[in-house]
Symmetry: C2
Subunit: 513 residues, 2 copies
């Protein structure tokens, strides 16, 4: 059928999408979300069809992706015919029936996800089914490899390449900014890629960005690592696993995360990691609530690492309160700098960092890694290495912690009664920080003066909220009326809460990887 | 945040969708497929957000649905702020974790589906999860009730209301056009609604439409039934279960059908059915391949019927070949007319119809229903009733079978060898018929002269393909090169086919309800 092209001036998120009138679609026998083949000269393309009930008869509406591919003028005629669904959809449909997928099948699915050949509905069904039925080890490994095949890779000529990753979920976790310079200062290679915040107050890429540029290409990253042994860059700019960004798009509204393992391990394989430590923050208010669950996840990471040829160890870490005092991109980067410059001693941040760095150093052959890591901070070698990395990535290597830009608007919150800090609500801290502007406003966040077990007197300053905009500070403050960030008292109350009728169960969802 | 309105001149399939620039969305903390609240004066609306990377900064793009709701002019400013996901999404998320849903929760989900408050991804996840985990009886009943609550209902002042339904999957099934007049002619009420074809060559609504108008309102339908005791109308025009049309939209590309039972039974409840016969065509090439599977499905229908207060019986019927000779809307309606006018005697069509009509008549209190049904055809009472219904629905009640419009283009296919018809491929027949133009071209289709077990001599006419357009006839003929419609020989070959390597498994999907 010949139809006239109409431009829609809209993009479809990388997918080739066209719009047909109901009449023309019925004539072609295509339903909404079915497929059409477009021809013009030697160019042809299979597109996802949206059907509109109003107007468009005789026309085919082109989204930007299709418009750019054909490069034809508006109102030109183009041949439109019925096309079959992509073969990868049949693999997804078989997966819906509970069948496991072969390596080639996973490859085809991931390729079509990246090339935009599968609709959001089809991707949602795939992700939902992986969530519902679970992935086996082979499928996870094949998914990792398929994500790498469709992305770019970092090739370093080093025998040992170390890496670390946190499954996330605990606020204030600036560990990476300490671990990378410690490891690199000891002569080992650590090409660290990080993510930006999705549901948290700050991702490592957001934090690091307040110290230096993080949007490097693979080539630029390679130069930094070859020069300094380390780097801290945003993974999203590297296209290491472009499929993952598309999966996350679907996982986010559904609050599911079945790709956690294959996605993380795939990205580590893509930078050539040979030895890896996975940090699994554990406890109420994190992604992993119990030590039992975390131990099982650790087992899965180690098994998948074996399949992919990455020696993997895991560290279960205490996650029932923020790490350190600072939450928010700049506040956290400042705290990490203060530790490396030895201006401040923040026991929990240091403890966590030296344990993880120590495990890496030991995996690489060093003895007593924890002590070596601690010494690397104390001696100033870690600070020196961080400044080298800052310079290599194009930042200001003379930067002082006190020069870092924190939001101009702030509000102190004081204790209403005396006692001991019995609990801290991570999810509420994140919500308040995000309302104050994080992660977009790098200078926004929270600084906590009191942590679990600390003695508090009525009127003591508990924490300060920072914001770049006053309106956001006001909104964050308003949230505090509904949310209790900390529990202060002499003993835990026995009643957690009553449930007296059917209620809506809303669980905090943490999607960071 | 105040943003200027920009019209997109596109509809979003009933959903309130807006487009924001990446910058504005990040400032608001909203990701793609997140939600925003729009205010203007006293009007407010929660919309689904699509984020665009190119342009639109300072603007909010309005799809038709949002434009129509607010009725504001382009470039007017409107307040846009972050909104929470709808509560029903939390129910869906809990279902993803394997939890069963309460009645209120299902109600909220279905209400939000109908009102457009859930994105396609969220609906796809819900449907996929129901497919993966299965529905229990309570959930199925609650889904039926929720679909009815959000739709219109037929209220007839009759104590006994009979109904029939086929789960579909067998081509040429014109049974309804016989059953409705038989039952109505015996003084019983049968307010029959039918669907149009989705994956088949013809739905009952498509068939009936060649005899009379089928797009009636609930009020018009009621008048027809009160006058004639029966009707045959298109369910889609009635809004009996608008949620179902949206679920089908998602189910179609995924080739899954988890709503089959609640959807069918909901629509029957919506017309007030008290007694129901479900036809389950069984055999290779239909939806239900084995008698065992069909018996289990029958059990589910009867159990769900009990929950909903509908006395339900099921008929497993032979589905390994088309019912009768004719496939395609007009061809099938003509065959049904020829039977009722006693011009032709088509044993399998009559046999199926009198069994199903007989079951209904017996459920309503009659003795020996099958014989009564047979007699109702023979006596001409069924024909008279059909003509009454045609007249009441606004058709030509004098119509003769030979006057019905069949496609002008036709092609006879002859046997290449002699033998007995050993098998007939339903799926291929449907594909050829659809390629010839069905269901959109009502006059297209196939007429079969030979059926299972018939003796065939080389050169005998096997079937004729009809089309309204010559180009479609050519395409259908071309398909025959790849597809073998019938197997003719002296005995079945032992080897079905070889499987020598990993292949793509594409299963024919039948979505009719």
């Amino acid at each position: 059928m010949k139809l006239k092209i109409k431009f829609l001036d809209l993009e479809a998120g990388g997918k080739p999408v066209i719009i047909l009138s109901k009449d023309d679609a019925e004539e072609l026998g295509i339903r909404s979300l079915g497929r059409a083949k477009l021809h013009s000269g030697k160019k042809e393309m299979n597109a996802i069809v949206n059907v509109t009930k109003h107007g468009m008869k005789g026309y085919v509406g082109f989204y930007e992706e299709v418009k750019n591919y054909f490069g034809l003028r508006e109102h030109t005629e183009i041949e439109v015919e019925t096309a079959k669904f992509p073969v990868s959809l049949h693999h997804i449909i078989n997966r819906l029936k509970g069948r496991k997928l072969a390596a080639e099948e996973i490859s085809e699915i991931v390729k079509d996800v990246v090339e935009g050949n599968l609709s959001e509905i089809e991707i949602a069904a795939f992700v939902t089914t992986l969530n519902n039925f679970g992935l086996d080890l082979d499928e996870a490994a094949n998914l990792s490899m398929a994500m790498i095949e469709t992305g770019d890779r970092l090739k370093l000529n080093r025998k040992i390449i170390l890496d670390k990753h946190s499954v996330g979920g605990v606020p204030g976790d600036k560990t990476t900014i300490l671990v990378v310079p410690i490891v690199a200062a000891n002569g080992f290679t650590i090409p660290k890629t990080s993510s930006r915040a999705i549901t948290s107050a700050a991702g490592t890429a957001d934090r690091v960005e307040t110290l230096m540029p993080v949007e490097l290409s693979v080539d630029e990253m390679k130069k930094v690592v070859e020069k300094t042994n380390g780097c801290m860059v945003w993974g999203g700019a590297l296209r290491l696993a472009p499929a993952d960004d598309i999966f996350i798009q679907v996982e986010f509204p559904l609050s599911i995360d079945p790709m956690l393992l294959p996605s993380i391990m795939g990205k580590k394989k893509a930078v050539g990691a040979t030895h890896l430590v996975i940090d699994i923050p554990t406890g109420r208010g994190t992604k992993m609530k119990t030590i039992g669950d975390s131990d099982l996840l650790a087992k899965d990471f180690i098994a998948l690492g074996r399949k992919l040829g990455i020696k993997t160890q895991c560290a279960l870490t205490f996650g029932e309160q923020p790490v350190g005092h600072a939450i928010g991109p700049a506040l956290e980067a400042r705290e990490a700098m203060e530790i490396l410059t030895r201006e401040k001693y923040v026991p929990d941040v240091i403890d966590k960092a030296v344990h993880i760095a120590g495990m890496l150093l030991e995996m690489a052959g060093k003895k007593d890694g924890e002590a070596l890591a601690r010494e690397t901070i104390k001696s100033g070698k870690a600070e020196k290495k961080l400044r080298e990395i800052i310079a290599a990535q194009g930042g200001d290597d003379k930067i002082k912690p006190e020069e870092m830009k924190i939001g101009d608007y702030s509000l102190d919150i004081h204790a209403e009664n005396s006692g001991v800090v019995l609990w801290i609500n991570n999810a509420d801290i994140v919500e308040v920080a995000r309302t104050a502007g994080t992660p977009k406003d790098h200078g926004a966040g929270i600084y906590m003066y009191k942590k679990l077990g600390d003695r508090v007197n009525k009127g003591d300053k508990l924490f300060t909220i920072f914001a770049e905009k006053n309106s956001k500070l006001i909104s964050a403050n308003k949230l505090l009326e509904e949310h209790e960030i900390m529990g202060i008292g002499d003993k835990m109350e026995m009643l957690i809460h009553k449930v007296t009728e059917l209620h809506v169960h809303k669980k905090t969802f943490i999607l960071e990887r």
